[in-house]
């Protein structure tokens, strides 16, 4: 194991903003942020559909606002194998619905409430994610 590209300060700052969004949504709207829940309910349920739409719109506006105010480019690199992306997308979509949450819903909102169910879910997807990357790097 080698440690590389370590950026704990920006990660902590960004994480704190994510926590702030979770707090505001909870205290004002009485709901927990779980992106897979918000996104799938936007698709599948009439309840709070416009709220969910506005949240998702904000999620997309966030990086744009960051770019405008900081005048910094946002660099990301994603696999360009479309088949792999489609398989991964299906797995993430189905998996988060079957398991009832994703990195935000279980990993932050759930663990923040000390929910054992969310702790188990987070440990599970972390371990499987780590194993998947490990296997992928072997091939």
């Amino acid at each position: 194991m080698n440690i590389i590209n370590f950026t704990p300060v920006s990660a902590f700052l960004g994480g704190s903003l994510i926590g702030l969004a979770v707090v505001i949504f909870f205290v004002f709207n009485g709901r927990l942020i779980g992106i897979s829940g918000i996104a799938s309910n936007f698709l599948n349920s009439k309840d709070n559909r416009f709220d969910n739409f506005l949240f998702l719109l904000g999620l997309i506006l966030g990086p744009i606002i960051y770019k405008v105010f900081t005048e910094q480019e946002i660099n990301i690199s994603i696999s360009n194998s479309f088949i792999l992306l489609a398989v991964a997308g299906l797995l993430v979509g189905a998996g988060t619905r079957i398991g009832g949450g994703c990195t935000s819903g279980h990993g932050i909102s759930g663990i923040g409430r000390f929910s054992l169910r969310s702790i188990v879910a987070t440990i599970t997807f972390m371990i499987v994610g780590i194993l998947t990357v490990w296997i992928k790097n072997l091939i």
Partner: protein
Amino acid sequence: MDKKFNMSKIVSLICGIIFGIGLTISQMIDPAKVLGFLNIFGDWDPSLAFVMIGALIISSPFFHLFKNNKKPIFADSFSYSNNKELNKKLIIGSSLFGAGWGLAGLCPGPAIASLALFNTSSIIFVITMFVGFYLVKLSDLTTQAR
């Protein structure tokens, strides 16, 4: 009632924006960063653990302060799942999610936020993710109908 109704919409938009900026600053929006975090057995980038630590330090105290019989400011009641079940579905679903996360380096929040960058990869991932949401909804409906 009406005022509350409209204010909750503004809060939703603002929370989405703050969340999206948080994903950008932390670089969680970058799948390469996520894959580096999951690559414990290779060149490991532990940064994203600090995203979780930051988010939990800020949010956790408020859950505990507000959970008992207080009303949210712009809604009539708190509404969230308080499911405590530990079952096969939780493990299977979380495993499938973990596999997809490890394959592409994208989970739902960063995937949707990265639509801001207009790249085809994000669009393909998000569309198929929504197909996944829909398929589970369909199969739920069929099981309920039986």
